[in-house]
């Protein structure tokens, strides 16, 4: 009977259910199992409605940056479920006070900060060197803090009191566009997601995000950060999968009010999105631009996905 510690491969076999209970009992009796640290490889899942489901389709794919890892390959039905969750999340998120939204996004930054090591590992899994991963994480946290602070200022910065002829107050009030789909760039995998999503959230929208296809790890891990930050279920939903398969589904879905796509303008997407008058924006940034944090912190990122509602109110005599 073996006296030496159980090898890693044995522990992995246990985790996969390939070891009979009799064999496991024998190992336990000679005390070689309990001393071993158990490696727990992560299964990368989607983040929909505050939960972490596998893809409804049961499919997975191997991202090119790290083909050894299986990642859930979202389907159009996952998108459908995510939009239903986002519609419910929109009511809660846009209904909460802007000040509270700011606090929640600030907590998101706190959680990113306290999970630095884990997030950096996710970025490195996606092919970044340690210094580059650290730099991207710095950018991500500083972006989050900035948009947290912006939340309760959007109304004052984008809204206005207008001069009109006649005894009326005339206000233009800022309202969110609604549920917005985000197709994040392939790289950078974390900042790309945050730079496109945070402005939407600051404006009170809810989002369904398709993360980087080649390096989805950090984007999916963002779901874990959201889940511990009081972000209401459904306000942010994260999908992974093949962009070529899912982008047309984002464009054609009639219950998405907007679509923000990283990349060059694509006429087919725009045409398909026109069916429900979805607002579509493309943003094409160079690799250098994505690393400039001041380029990514701007009210101009919020503006395209808010609506102005103008109210007339008689001046009291």
């Amino acid at each position: 009977m073996a006296k030496d510690p159980a090898p890693i491969s044995f522990i992995q076999d246990v985790a996969r259910g390939r070891v009979s209970s009799a064999r496991l009992r024998r190992r336990h009796r000679c005390g070689t199992v309990s001393a071993m640290p158990v490696p727990v490889p992560k299964t990368y899942k989607l983040f929909v409605g505050g939960k972490f489901p596998r893809s409804e389709s049961g499919r997975s794919f191997q991202p090119t940056s790290n083909p050894a890892i299986n990642v859930a390959r979202g389907s159009r039905k996952d998108l459908r479920d995510a939009v239903v969750a986002a519609r419910a999340g929109l009511a809660v998120w846009s209904g909460s006070a802007a000040y509270l939204r700011g606090q929640i996004l600030y907590r998101l930054a706190e959680m990113l900060e306290s999970r630095r090591d884990a997030m950096q590992r996710e970025l490195q899994l996606g092919g970044l060197s340690a210094p580059l991963a650290k730099r991207e994480l710095d950018t991500a946290i500083s972006l989050t803090i900035w948009y947290a602070g912006l939340c309760d200022k959007v109304q004052s910065l984008l809204g206005s009191q207008n001069a009109v002829q006649g005894p009326f107050f005339n206000f233009s009030m800022v309202e969110p566009t609604g549920v917005v789909g985000v197709i994040a760039p392939d790289s950078p995998s974390l900042v790309g997601v945050l730079a496109l999503t945070l402005p939407l959230l600051a404006g009170g929208n809810s989002a369904v995000v398709l993360v980087s296809e080649s390096a989805p790890f950090a984007g999916l891990a963002l779901g874990e950060v959201c889940a511990s930050s009081d972000v209401p279920a459904g306000a942010i939903n994260v999908l992974s999968g093949l962009r070529s398969e899912l982008a047309p589904q984002f464009a054609s879905h009639r219950d998405l009010d907007g679509l923000l796509v990283a990349g060059a303008p694509d006429a087919a997407l725009t045409q398909s999105a026109a069916d429900n008058c979805k607002r579509v924006r493309f943003c094409y940034l160079s690799a250098a631009d994505w690393s400039k944090v001041e380029r990514l912190r701007s009210l101009t990122w919020v503006e395209p996905f808010v609506e102005l509602k103008t109210l007339w109110h008689p001046v009291a005599q």
Partner: protein, 302 residues
């Protein structure tokens, strides 16, 4: 009025809960795709009792619901009408007027719905008024207080009396399975309703949770099938309450077909009592036609 039966008549064999739930869960995994799914969805609409049972119901709301029941999707002629509109007794007249000339029936809840806590004379009067106003289907609630305290004869007598008061109108007997607690009780309540001459067994009022569940409906379908094999009389089943998605509806249809067969796969013998289910089915039908996921706000609320 028929005299009370001997308590022996109300005895039923015990239900194996594990087997029942396993069977229901097993059938729920069956997947319907493409044409079969579309046909199932259309059948679900044809089987639907479009329901509004709120304190805030108004004649306007009922008229709108009737329009929706006659033409669920006005731009599409391949979408069938619903089976019935289900309302409180005081709104029966409005519904009858709005549905005149159509195939949609008017169902009315009665007998002190949903709790059933009034005296027999009041219950019967309510039924008579609803029938006189033009309701062709009456949804009664059983006296759960009497049932749970073992006075089965009282429950039986009351159903018999209501059946008589219904005249030509169909009688659906609401068991309120959520309050009966055990499968044995549900089977016994089915037995009582069947013996007393109910035309339909209905799960719930929709006001109690849990409402309709797959195992409960399976149990009721089995009771209806066994009654048919025993007596040759067909009794329908209505699943009501908590059925909100197309997927749920299709699962119920699988249960019906597997348990009772083709004979029950018609609006005459199986019904859904629902309000929000209809729009979810319409979403699916339009998704199939256009290839695009639809926006719920594009479909009228009622």
């Amino acid at each position: 009025m028929p005299h009370s039966l001997s308590p022996v008549e109300f005895r039923v064999p015990p239900v194996c809960a594990v087997a029942l739930e396993t069977r229901a869960a097993d059938l729920a995994t069956r997947s319907l795709k493409k044409q079969a799914k579309l046909q199932g969805l259309r059948l679900a609409i044809a089987m639907m009792d479009l329901t509004t049972l709120e304190g805030m119901d108004s004649p306007g709301k009922v008229r709108q619901l009737c329009q929706k029941a006659m033409r669920p999707l006005p731009q599409r002629s391949d979408v069938p009408s619903c089976a019935a509109v289900c309302v409180y007794p005081d709104l029966v007249e409005t519904a009858v007027e709005a549905l005149r000339g159509s195939t949609v029936q008017v169902a009315s809840v009665a007998t002190g719905f949903p709790a059933g806590r009034t005296d027999r004379a009041t219950k019967l009067r309510e039924v008579q008024l609803a029938v006189a106003a033009g309701a062709t289907e009456i949804d009664m609630v059983i006296d759960r207080g009497a049932f749970l305290s073992g006075r089965y004869g009282k429950v039986y007598d009351e159903i018999c009396a209501v059946k008589e008061a219904c005249g030509a109108a169909h009688l659906k007997v609401i068991l309120e399975t959520g309050e009966l607690k055990t499968y044995d009780n549900i089977r016994r309540a089915c037995r009582i309703a069947l013996l007393a001459g109910g035309d339909f067994l209905k799960t719930s009022t929709g006001k109690v949770t849990p409402a309709s569940t797959l195992p409960v409906v399976l149990l009721m379908l089995e009771a209806a099938r066994d009654h048919y094999l025993e007596t040759g009389r067909i009794v329908g089943v209505k699943a009501a309450g908590g059925i909100r998605t197309s997927k749920d509806a299709l699962r119920y249809l699988v249960l019906v077909n597997e348990t009772c067969g083709d004979l029950w796969m018609t609006p005459q013998w199986f019904r859904f009592g629902a309000s929000s289910l209809l729009n979810d089915v319409l979403l699916q039908l339009e998704k199939d036609r256009t290839g695009r996921y639809q926006r719920p706000v594009d479909f009228s609320a009622d």
